[in-house]
Subunit: 319 residues, 2 copies
């Protein structure tokens, strides 16, 4: 088992831990609660205990990659800012892992890690320039330039969710108005659905049947309702995809990628998202970039772990 | 005179031709009318005659770079699409120059060339990641990633002027609504000024005195009037810079550059542009990228020629 790496994808509720081979295969996968409220150090302690068990079972990794939801200082391996992991700010994971495991560790923004995972394992032809967009509670992303992850000047590149599509629009979790995330993040999608259900009391029978309690509205039920022909659910996706198309058209026009790949739970809506985005791209008169780009949805739900592990291997090999 | 290159910057009205040393110094500069209506072939013929005269005078370049306003196929050296050079579409400049001059030629989007010129000669520390924004009749741009020009998948990257800031806003020359260019291109700025002069008949005395005929309104007079304290001129810059700030904040958040540099005639407005852009960047709650980036205005008005020439030298040396 030469050269395997550990990839850890830390979400607000759960953390996934995977042992990953250099070609991106998951050899072992485990999950543990993040318990973010306890702080970063106890989390690292629990992770180390799990890895000790793995070691005893023969898993001897050569590097560790950690994907974190927040603004990551990749160079120093610290978490700079995060709204989702309260109290973890400023913690230097790289040093902690180096001390405890004697392993080189790479700390990466979770969206960057997930985009790299999708790039390395799902885009087999390895296109040169790729935009990845993570659709979940929030909207994030990552850029691949010339086959390499573009971290930007401060490791903050790819924050597509906070590009604004309306200057006085819906309120985003970041505090600004009109961010893409405020429309295409889970909470934005659910808000659109609630507004439509309220405005059209005689419509949306399927959706109302699937979700008797509107507090349980989710992208998953909205996909199911849309699949069953529900007009409100379909309208929700049309609006979500249209706003997503506006925001992403701007990024595509400036960055001119070969592929735009959607990842994350909400991307399972598939064509309900892709179709309106494609329509917006084709309606824009400013053409070459928008006609060239191929739209895709990634399928591996563990791409974040895989990407973090592969980035750790690359970093170790000095790439 | 080893290794000098020719740089040609083709505008809609005039073309500038420069002989450029590898360190970006202009050794000779000439200008000729573009006469775009005659077609691309006669333009190349006239350019060749000029270069023959230069050759006789001892200027023996080793490469030629051509900057063209339009969608350029860098790989094949052709002009794919252009609204400004009617009839030039599809012309393959690289082949034409290779045949006639036996020189390797590089064909580049004019904004990309200008951004590269500013990067190579005005940003002495060569920051890693840079966004250049050309402010003129139109709004264009270019990206430098890791010290290299990012051309994108089809050579169309950097078209910042056609990123949209309002989905049902002012009409852009490209046909879309709400493009950044429709507000921050010369015609957008002049439109804003006219609207304000009409809406506030008792204000703007200095501007009205400087430009008795409103058809002659230009960014240049608006800068002069703003310098003299004219409230309408200042409001025009405030609005222009604010919209520019909205559009560019999106690009900065996604791309995370070290430096954002403005180029082109309108950038001579200097702080009248920079101040409102800075304000927008600092008001956005999504911070790291927007706080990190340094704003600059380039000063060399011939950066387009210099950049085209330097790109040709780099290409020749196989970089």
């Amino acid at each position: 088992m030469a050269s395997i790496a550990l990839g850890v994808d830390v979400g607000g509720t759960f953390a996934k831990i995977a042992a990953v081979s250099p070609d991106g295969k998951i050899l072992r996968l485990d999950e543990m609660p993040t318990d973010a409220g306890d702080g970063a150090k106890p989390f690292v302690g629990r992770l180390l205990r799990l890895l000790q068990i793995w070691r005893k079972q023969g898993i001897r990794p050569s590097a560790l990659g950690l994907g974190l939801a927040g603004d990551v200082d990749h160079e120093h391996g610290c978490l700079r800012l995060t709204p989702n992991l309260p109290g973890w700010q400023g913690f230097c994971f790289r040093d902690a892992f180096k001390r405890a495991l004697r392993l080189p560790a790479v700390v990466e923004n979770d969206a960057n890690a997930a985009v790299w995972g999708a790039y390395a394992t799902e885009l087999k032809r390895r296109p040169r320039h790729v935009i990845g967009v993570t659709l979940g509670t929030g909207v994030g992303g990552g850029l691949i330039v010339d086959g390499r992850l573009h971290r930007g000047a401060t490791g903050t590149a790819g924050e597509i969710g906070h590009a604004r599509v309306a200057m006085s629009g819906a309120r985003c979790h970041c505090g600004a108005r009109g961010c893409l995330e405020a429309y295409a993040g889970k909470y934005g999608i659910v808000r659109t659905a609630r507004e439509l259900l309220r405005a059209r009391p005689d419509s949306g029978a399927v959706l109302r049947r699937l979700v008797p309690n509107l507090k349980a509205l989710s992208p998953k039920c909205l996909k199911a309702a849309a699949d069953q022909g529900d007009p409100i659910a379909r309208e929700v996706w049309r609006r979500t995809g249209t706003v997503l198309g506006w925001g992403l058209a701007n990024v595509v026009i400036v960055f001119n990628p070969d592929v735009l790949v959607f990842l994350g739970g909400v991307s399972r809506a598939g064509n309900w998202i892709l179709d309106p985005v494609r329509r917006v791209f084709h309606e824009h008169p400013f053409g070459t970039s928008l006609r060239h780009v191929t739209l895709r949805c990634a399928v591996n739900p563990n791409g974040g772990c895989v990407g973090a592990a592969l980035l750790a291997l690359e970093d170790r090999s000095g790439r």
